[in-house]
């Protein structure tokens, strides 16, 4: 029984210039306690999809046109704002790329961490303080007392990210959505934070949706991966299987364009062209204009995500038909 079951999520933005089809029929599942990765470049819709789940899309111009997202029996996309608010921050938490904007610069760190406990769970100040110190230790910030009275700007990027993780996990959520949590951090700090997330996941038994553009990061921590492009899921598979043998031309092209997979001196494989403009309605497969394996059929009908074998799905006609 999946913890979160998203089916055909569709979110559009109705702007003056036209309708931006940011997310089009995205489906994915998260089992309890597992880490999945949603990989895509900018404009792929991965962030909009996760924000849609928690009702964080600005309502005009954004609108969730379609889809269901079953979490513990509740459809997040259909329940009222009150229910959503009670789930958000308690059962489902989210952390973002820029930890600086998540913290109020005018409040001491300790107060910010204690606030949700005092408000939502009615804890006394002392009880809340104990929990917060315990949480900070859990995320690797020792010396709780001194850090609690510090201000956000006194913390470095890595520390702030840890604080944000502490804030997100303080209510022991079942699901954590991490949107590019390490992109703004140095590589060595990124490694620490990823290690931390993996450890916390084991200790707290929570599920994690890791959203990133970095294929190396998902290779390290995720069990299953969904690859998104132009608002759709192109491929989904277990991590090892995806990297060993990608079953979609986009995934393949993406993997091949990484310098680390390349022999020095040879030109890198590139994906020609640009991602499509999401305002113009796309006929056929969104990747077709840039796909080296595209045929006529690819520009006429839009492929849907179909399972090849249990646990592997692809949205490519030619792969589905066994041609590739």
């Amino acid at each position: 029984m999946p913890l979160l079951d998203v089916h055909e999520l569709t979110t559009h933005f109705h702007t003056r210039e036209g309708v931006v089809r940011a997310v089009n029929g995205v489906s994915f599942r998260v089992e309890p306690g597992e880490t999945i990765g949603i990989v895509g470049e900018s404009g792929s819709g991965k962030t909009v999809a996760s924000l849609s789940l928690l009702g964080l899309i600005p309502a005009p111009p954004g609108r969730i046109e379609n889809g269901t997202a079953l979490f513990d029996g509740v459809d997040l996309l259909a329940c009222g704002p009150k229910t959503l608010r009670s789930i958000r921050g308690r059962a489902i938490s989210m952390i973002f790329q820029d930890p600086m904007t998540a913290l109020n610069p005018f409040m001491r760190v300790g107060d910010q961490l204690m606030e949700p406990l005092q408000v939502h769970q009615g804890l006394s100040r002392r009880e809340a303080r104990t929990r917060v110190e315990e949480m900070l230790r859990l995320v690797g910030i020792q010396d709780g007392a001194r850090n609690l009275s510090a201000w956000p700007h006194e913390f470095s990027g890595g520390m702030r990210q840890r604080v944000m993780i502490a804030m997100a996990l303080i209510t022991r959520p079942h699901l954590l959505i991490a949107d590019e949590p390490t992109t703004a951090l140095d590589v060595t700090i990124q490694a620490q934070i990823l290690e931390l997330l993996a450890r916390l996941q084991r200790e707290l038994g929570m599920a994690v949706i890791l959203i990133t553009h970095d294929l190396g990061v998902v290779a390290r921590v995720c069990r299953r991966i969904y690859v998104m492009y132009a608002g759709q899921v192109m491929e989904s598979a277990a991590t090892e299987a995806l990297f060993a043998q990608p079953r979609h031309p986009y995934t393949e092209a993406l993997l091949q364009s990484l310098p680390s997979t390349h022999v020095k001196g040879e030109p890198l494989h590139t994906i020609p062209g640009l991602p499509p403009d999401l305002i113009a309605p796309i006929a056929g497969c969104p990747f077709a204009p840039r796909c080296a394996s595209a045929t006529d059929r690819c520009t006429r009908g839009a492929p849907t995500l179909r399972e090849l074998v249990p646990g592997r799905a692809t949205a490519c006609f030619r792969v589905q038909d066994g041609e590739l």
């Binding site: 470049e41 900018s42 190396g216 090892e240 364009s257 310098p259 994906i271």
Partner: protein
């Protein structure tokens, strides 16, 4: 042996930090670049790596004199340029160009592509009249942009295309040395590959010497002949790209390489990691002795005593660690 094109000797860039409104007292000094010596041979590509706050961007800016040098010297084309006065320095600027990290911010939003590319040509007398149009078209084609879009404004292009324009602008003056400050960091993965290929091709075509700054070691390794690793304003390792990448000797380089996520799940799960548990110290208050010792898994008490010099540890390979032979 040919003379290096760029010679940095004990380059220092320190920024004083003041506090107080009425009486400004000196709080301390940010030692962004703290004694860097480096040679770049003509036609060579040197990759400069370090994490944020380690001074690579400051180094780049100091070489092109966007920030003043506090100490040390910069030699270019055999001449010492750090002491030159501005008018004399301006005469050599065309040969020393910089590509910025953010393609969105490095182009004047109110100038068309044509204007942006024509301007340096006209100002430095490299073209005039009808010639300008032809040169601009050539430049655009050189970087893979269709010349018919020259009347468009930067915001009408994508990030990758804007970076191409920025590259074209840098090359308009026919520089000898191009410093690229994280030119692909702000771009999507699939676009990065395009730009890297472009840079590689242009470097061959125009015989450029390149100082390439990036935090992604795999990108640096791909493009560079040699790699220099910086930490808190000092060089800690220097050597041939393949050597530094596959057989790093300095503890920081090792930690850096082991921290880079590799898109290969099998390797990721089984590789040996050098884990660092701390944050880098602030360049306002660097540690005594070796700048890396507080985080170093191999540190010993004597590491805090003196700053280790770069020592040879292989053919053209140097590292600044007193425990080199023991690791």
């Amino acid at each position: 042996m040919t003379r290096p094109l760029l010679e940095l000797r004990e380059l220092r860039v320190h920024f004083p930090v003041y506090a107080g409104l009425v009486r400004r007292r000196l709080l301390g000094t940010v030692r962004a670049v703290d004694g860097v010596s480096l040679d770049v041979a003509p036609g060579e590509t040197v990759g400069l790596v370090g994490e944020s706050g380690c001074g690579e961007s400051t180094l780049a800016r100091a070489v092109v004199r966007l920030v003043p040098c506090t100490g040390g010297t910069v030699g270019f084309e055999g001449r010492e340029i750090s002491a030159l006065r501005e008018p004399a320095f301006r005469a050599i600027r065309p040969r020393l160009q910089l590509i910025f990290q953010d393609p969105y911010a490095s182009l004047n939003p109110r100038m068309t592509v044509f204007d942006a590319l024509a301007e340096p040509l006209r100002v430095h007398g490299l073209a005039d009249g009808r010639d300008v149009l032809r040169r601009v078209s050539d430049l655009m084609e050189l970087v893979g942009l269709a010349p018919r879009f020259m009347r468009k404004y930067p915001h009408e292009f994508s990030g990758g295309q804007r970076q191409r324009i920025a590259i074209a602008r840098a090359l308009a003056l026919e520089p000898k040395l191009v410093i690229a400050d994280e030119p692909v960091s702000a771009l999507d993965v699939s676009v990065q590959a395009q730009i890297l290929n472009l840079i590689a091709r242009l470097r061959e075509q125009m015989g450029l010497t390149l100082l390439f700054i990036a935090h992604d070691l795999s990108v640096v390794h791909y493009l560079s002949h040699r790699i220099a690793v910086m930490y808190l304003g000092r060089l800690v390792e220097l050597g041939p790209a393949g050597e530094v990448f596959h057989r790093p000797r300095h503890p920081y380089t090792r930690a850096l390489i082991s921290a880079i996520p590799v898109p290969d799940p099998v390797r990721e799960k089984t590789r040996q990691r050098v884990a660092l548990h701390d944050e880098p110290a602030s360049p306002l208050n660097p540690p005594s002795g070796c700048p890396f010792h507080p985080r170093c898994p191999w540190a010993q008490p004597r590491c805090a005593e003196t700053v280790p010099p770069l020592e040879s540890c292989g053919d053209g390979h140097q590292a600044a660690c007193i425990r080199l032979d023991q690791m």
